[in-house]
């Protein structure tokens, strides 16, 4: 059995991206290239109101005046923005309902993706809550599945609606809740924020909108699966979550993408708004195609994620497990404006082969007695580079700020790099800012000890790495924790000899 397991592991490590496949659903494309016409096409395709089109056009005009960012530690080949499609949708748009009504091809994709059976059933909305092994009820997950750019199915809508929760694709929300969307869209990440956020503002295809009304604790975990499925199609998701006073929501996001030879661009924007005493927990497992062992192919993942803790005692917790993408560039951040608001960032980033990850967070303390915690665990293997880049800023008005930052790097092998680039900018003396960082490798003692108890080398490494990342993994909702642990091991296969 052991031998079989190993053989499978090596096959997976040496050969392919496990989930690298593409399905051949007919696509409807926007014309290749990027122009004002592309923007108008997307907006028309989605039947958007004039204000939305105007907003997009303004962003596009801005984008044309901007320069691509300075890549710091990343080595990014030049991107030809005219050589890509900016919009694609599955031709037959199924109505929400049972599994039978969804394109069977799409269902097969979900199966290959490994969406748990339970969730697939939930997607159909046909089963009671299954119980966990120990008899406790399993938490429920509502899945708004994004297939390429268009949302094709939403579940549990009724129950969510009964609670007053709005959970829609953003295109639907623009039409159904224009006032809410207009009020908050671009308020956390302004159109001119950065090159990729501006691009996203112009051409975003779809995404998710969530509104949790005052005092409501969202009755289930919300989850969206993103996929890129069309050759040369940039993926420009837009997510907006508004948590009204005293509300709570846990949102899960997981990504995989099919194998491609050409590099694919992804530039998502996620905006979170949190009012008084509200909390959003946002968890991500990112496992997009990382490219092969020579660095060919793989997703370029340039994401802008930011939360505005506007209300008093509001809280945002970002948790991310980043194992995929050829290049990852993302800094889920918190603007802590409300007095007593709390920002958290828990991150595990794994890079192997030729992957490059530059990720971290910004904690902007504006309100009094705001607190933030940053725990970053970077794991580098192969010939990869893994960078933590973070900013903790304390404004003069922010009395009593507390921040604790822990950045740990683990190197597997001597051909990779681990970098820590923290910025600390403090303008109020009552702040207490602490930053600690360590760099280590897996010691031979640890490996031998684990192996002498019966684990093979791969299993020993996976175990030790999971221990290293534990503080972050335990922040994940149960549904993701197991998957994430598996991912860490899989991502590092072939990295120890």
């Amino acid at each position: 059995m052991m031998a079989t397991r190993n053989a499978e592991a090596y096959a997976a490590a040496n050969k392919t991206y496990e989930w690298g496949f593409s399905s051949d659903i007919e696509q409807e494309f926007a014309p290749k290239g990027l122009s004002e016409d592309t923007v108008r096409f997307i907006s028309a395709k989605k039947g958007e109101p004039q204000w939305m089109l105007d907003w997009r056009l303004k962003a596009f005009a801005l984008w044309q005046t901007m320069e691509a960012p300075d890549w710091s530690k990343l080595n990014v080949p030049p991107i030809d923005y005219q050589d890509a499609y900016y919009y694609a949708e599955p031709k037959a748009k199924p109505k929400l309902g049972s599994l039978d009504e969804v394109d069977p091809e799409i269902l097969r994709v979900y199966e290959k993706l490994g969406i748990p059976i339970g969730e697939q059933k939930m997607l159909a909305g046909v089963v009671e809550d299954p119980l966990n092994e120990d008899g406790t009820p399993k938490r429920r997950v509502a899945v708004d599945a994004v297939f390429d750019s268009v949302s094709v199915a939403t579940t549990f809508r009724k129950e969510l609606e009964a609670a007053g929760v709005i959970f829609r694709s953003i295109s639907e929300a623009i039409k159904e809740y224009p006032d809410l969307v207009r009020k908050w869209l671009g308020k956390v990440v302004p159109q001119r924020d950065n090159y990729f956020a501006t691009l996203n503002s112009a051409v975003f295809s779809d995404g998710t909108f969530v509104y949790i009304p005052e005092g409501v604790r969202c009755p289930m975990e919300l989850s969206t699966y993103f996929r890129i499925n069309a050759e040369n199609t940039g993926q420009f998701e837009r997510t907006l979550i508004v948590a009204d006073k005293g509300s709570y929501v846990s949102y899960l996001e997981g990504c995989t993408a099919p194998m491609r030879d050409e590099n694919q661009l992804h530039a998502a924007v996620v905006e979170l708004v949190v009012l008084d005493d509200a909390e959003i927990k946002y968890s991500t497992v990112q496992n997009w195609y990382p490219g092969d062992e020579n660095g060919v192919g793989g997703i370029y993942n340039f994401v802008t994620k930011r939360a505005l803790c506007q209300g008093k005692n509001s809280k945002v917790s970002w948790t991310q497990v980043e194992t995929g993408s050829a290049i990852t560039w993302k800094y889920p951040s918190c603007v802590l404006a409300g007095d007593g608001s709390v920002g958290e960032f828990y991150s595990v980033a794994v890079t192997n082969n030729r992957q490059q990850a530059d990720t971290g967070t910004k904690m902007i303390h504006l309100g009094k007695n705001t607190r933030s915690t940053i725990v970053s665990k970077g794991i580098s293997a192969g010939r990869s580079d893994n960078t933590y880049r973070g900013l903790v800023r304390v404004a003069p008005t922010a009395e009593g700020v507390r921040n604790f930052t822990q950045c740990d790097s683990l190197l597997l092998g001597d051909q990779c790099g681990a970098h820590t680039v923290p910025y600390i900018e403090v303008r109020n003396p009552s702040a207490q800012i602490e930053h600690e960082a360590t760099t280590s490798k897996i010691s031979e003692d640890q490996l031998f000890y684990a192996m002498s108890r019966g684990l093979d080398a791969e299993a020993a490494v996976a175990l030790i790495v999971n221990g290293f990342a534990r503080e972050v993994l335990q922040q994940l909702p149960m549904e993701f924790a197991v998957e994430a642990q598996k991912l860490l091991g899989i991502s590092l296969e072939g990295s120890v000899g």
Binding site: A431, H435, A437
Partner: protein, 358 residues
Amino acid sequence: MAAVMELPSTREESWRWGDPAAIAAAAGLPRGEAPAGAWFLELEGARAVFVDGVLDEGRSDLRHVAIAPLEGGTHVLGARTTGHGWSLRVEAHASAELIQIVHIATGGENHVPAEIVLADGAQASVVETYVGTGWSNRSTRMTLGAGAKLARAVRLLQTAGFVSVRDEADVGAEASLIVTMLGAGDAGTRIDGAITVSGDDAFAEYGGALLARRDQRQECALSVRHAALNGQSKQIWRAVAADTSTASLAARVEVARDAQKTDGVQSLRGLLLKRTATVNLKPELEIFADDVKCAHGATVGELDQRALFYMQSRGIPHAKAQALLTRAFVGDAFAQIADETVRDAFVADADAWLEAAL
């Protein structure tokens, strides 16, 4: 001042917290009288006085120090120093006498290059003091042969203007470099350091304290690069900011692919004395070798309020209590100064600053 126009922009990463405008302003200060004072420490050895970048022979006793044409290197500020500067070359296994250098500026800009070249097993110590006003710009290249030892202590005490110091060092096998900086004047400060640990089993310590007040901006941008086996480095820095000042520390440890068994220690700590002040820290690691120990810590905060109250309750006035605690905070950065007289001078400089600032 055409040259000033070519100063770097704060858009550049290493000048993120920099203040190029202050350099231009300092260079524009009119030349005036040299300040009076006894700037040399009571220590035997060679002495050199530069007034606005020119050696004052009457007040100097060069002994083994030479004046020679030197290159300023490629650094944006360091490059401007190309010209005549001071040179210390010590033969293998020789110990040079202590060298004291006082840089007096009266206004305008002045640029001086320097080199310290220690052959295998050679030893030297250097104390430098900057006073006056204007823009004083220096570059110092330090080359340490195998087993060489250099201790260098630099006091930045100009009362106005700007002092920019560019240091480059190459530390050979089993050599030891210890540089201690103190910014305790009223001038803007920019310390640029690029230290390379190029020989196996070598040691480099580059640290100090920046004490900023009024509208001053003091900053240090330092990188220590480990390019050899078994190297050890320390960057112990303390930043204190009062009034509307800004003190910034950007310190980096780089570990090259082959520099296994490196032990790089970094401790950056900031103390804010007023809510209008700013401390910026950037403790950076860039690591390409897997068998290394690079622990670093950074903290920013204010003085321990309980300790302050405790001291006050025992009768110590608030300002005095602040001064005592701040002194203790800063003191860590001077611990590596081996010469007691030099260390006492650093502590006295810091005390004088605290007396005035608090």
